[in-house]
């Protein structure tokens, strides 16, 4: 599918006077891994529930695979798989039986995909054990297997790495990237593990207090933050003056650890050489010099620290009309 696989416009979900989702307009391109980030209570799961037809919007609209949800849910969700909050199963049935129960509601070929799907998530050897005996990580894997049964164009995964150990997380990341890069699926992934999102996702939206603060590619988002050269010098005051006078330096900031950050858009090798020469010429000792780029986590904290909650009376932005 070309274009956006998920689109929302002015989406609102209110619980009484409180708006869990407050005028969210989102566009998720097809064929990417899209990270949906936000602090606890930001409205991530609520939005996911609306996208999957599990909850109705109070206002606004949402389209999945070009179909409105919840009105055209059968068409919209026909090739969508997901995990919401946590993967829940019939604990007294085996993993395979759980998948059969789901496959009965999907396309006729879904049951035939069960062995391959179990194999893919590494549960083929344990598929005939009762799910009640599974570890949390195994349940998460089985949740992914269930989501894959629909041969989904779109996978919606809400905190999918919960309960996975570091090796499991790394394996999971590879699996997600494989789904996107080799199989052309779109993955919409909410997670509080920002480092994981940075490593796994191509695009990201940051949500807080029910509103999307920013969305775009991960690279652009990080670039829009503070990049520069971190300088550890024996005379910070003089070093600061010297750095500020160098071409290409937009400013100099002192960091919490006492080192300096020379802000520049292209903190490459040439910039490093220029800084070391200038400091050496002035007789300032240089202990270390390194390229510094804000991580997604730092960028996320910057962005969410400044956002304000939407009051119950605050009107949402007017929803743009749904695409025809």
């Amino acid at each position: 599918m070309d274009g956006a696989i998920i689109e929302t416009g002015g989406l609102v979900k209110a619980f009484g006077a409180r708006r869990a989702i407050d005028g969210v307009s989102l566009e998720v391109p097809a064929g990417v891994c899209f990270g949906f980030l936000g602090p606890n209570g930001a409205g991530k799961t609520t939005l996911i529930r609306m996208l999957l037809g599990l909850a109705r919007p109070t206002a606004g609209w949402a389209r999945v695979r070009g179909h409105a949800v919840p009105d055209e849910a059968p068409a919209a969700l026909a090739r969508v798989g997901g995990i919401v909050e946590e993967a829940r199963f019939y604990p007294y049935l085996t993993g395979r039986q759980n998948l059969r129960a789901q496959a009965a509601l999907l396309d006729p070929g879904a049951a035939a995909r069960i062995p391959a799907t179990l194999d893919r998530v590494g549960l083929a050897g344990r598929a005939d054990e009762r799910v009640g005996r599974y570890s949390m990580g195994m349940r998460q894997r089985l949740g992914v297997a269930r989501a894959l049964l629909a041969d989904p164009e779109l996978l919606v995964l809400d905190e999918p790495t919960n309960g996975l150990d570091p090796a499991g997380i790394a394996e999971f990341r590879e699996m997600i990237r494989g789904m996107v890069e080799q199989e052309g699926r779109t993955v919409f992934l909410s997670s509080h593990l920002l480092d994981e999102v940075q490593r796994t996702c191509d695009h990201v939206a940051i949500v807080d207090h029910g509103r999307v603060i920013v969305q775009g590619s991960v690279r652009e988002l990080i670039r829009s933050g503070e990049t520069g050269m971190a300088v550890d010098a024996d005379d910070p005051a003089r070093a600061r003056r010297i750095l500020a006078a160098l071409p290409g330096v937009r400013g100099v900031r002192e960091r919490a650890d006492g080192t300096l950050l020379a802000l520049m858009s292209d903190p490459g090798r040439e910039a490093g050489l220029a800084i070391s020469r200038a400091l050496a010429a002035a007789g300032v000792g240089l202990a270390s010099l390194a390229r510094s780029e804000e991580s997604l986590e730092e960028r996320f904290l910057d962005l969410t620290r400044g956002s304000t909650p939407s009051g119950p009376g605050a009107p949402p932005p007017p929803p743009p009309p749904p695409p025809s």
């Binding site: 599990l54 909850a55 969700l77 019939y90 007294y92 049935l93 059969r100 509601l105 269930r146």
Partner: protein, 247 residues
């Protein structure tokens, strides 16, 4: 409604093993208990012994009582389990109509209840046919048919009521408690209405069920319509909640 979906609902009900095995063993156990009592009576007090169609009826009544209780438990659980367990959202996110997902459980529940009553009915039929008749009459085909029909229809009806209650309350424990109180307490008490007005009594579920299993002199068609209406109200209320709720 897809047959495979109904089959999977059967697997889910059957998979709750403790409840399923209780439902299988208890009605048959109660029927056997009646048989043992009859055998003891024949040995020690032959004048009180009951056999033939009386024994068949007594065993059938035992199976019906146990069937109503187990039907109520299985029905309430079938109605509430998926939502309580959090699995219903995974069924709903397939995009399948929620009403279809909900109604697929009905034939599954009825089929399981039919299956769990088979041992009790078979034991009653064999005992009724083989045990000495005593002062009773050897049961005929219509007696055997009634011995199957009576526990089955009572179990089904109260299971459907409990199923609706389960879907409404969405908590297995609470649904079982409420459904048991309704089936064994509130509804039977309500049938006292028939002491005041026979016409009003016709509209009470236990009276309608009674008419379905024995001739009380009231119209059979009315009893059938009233029983269907009661089931429809409870199952319908559960359906409305299932369709409208958010998961």
């Amino acid at each position: 409604m897809r047959l495979d979906a109904v089959r999977q609902e059967v697997v889910k009900i059957r998979g709750r093993r403790a409840m399923f095995w209780c439902a299988l063993v208890i009605p048959a156990g109660l029927a056997v208990t009646v048989l043992v009592v009859a055998a003891i009576l024949r040995a020690v007090r032959p004048e009180d012994y009951f056999g033939g169609d009386d024994l068949l009826q007594a065993m059938s009544a035992g199976a019906a009582l146990a069937g109503v209780v187990m039907g109520t438990l299985l029905g309430a659980q079938a109605g509430a389990y998926d939502v309580q367990q959090g699995t219903f959202r995974y069924l709903a996110m397939t995009g399948r109509p929620r009403l279809g997902l909900y109604l697929a459980r009905v034939p599954a529940l009825l089929a399981v209840l039919l299956a769990v009553l088979v041992p009790a009915v078979v034991v009653a039929a064999v005992a009724g046919a083989l045990m000495p008749v005593g002062d009773s009459v050897r049961p005929g085909l219509s007696d055997h048919a009634l011995a199957v029909w009576s526990p089955l229809v009572q179990t089904w009806i109260y299971a459907l009521v409990a199923f609706g209650i389960g879907a409404l309350l969405r908590s297995v424990g609470v649904a079982i408690a409420v459904a048991l109180v309704a089936s064994l307490g509130a509804l039977p008490v309500l049938s006292l209405v028939s002491e005041v007005s026979e016409t009003a009594g016709d509209l009470v579920l236990p009276m309608a069920v009674l008419r379905l299993v024995e001739d009380t002199g009231r119209p059979l068609w009315l009893a059938a319509a009233v029983a269907v209406a009661w089931c429809a109200v409870f199952v319908g209320a559960g359906a409305a909640r299932t369709v409208r709720a958010e998961y």
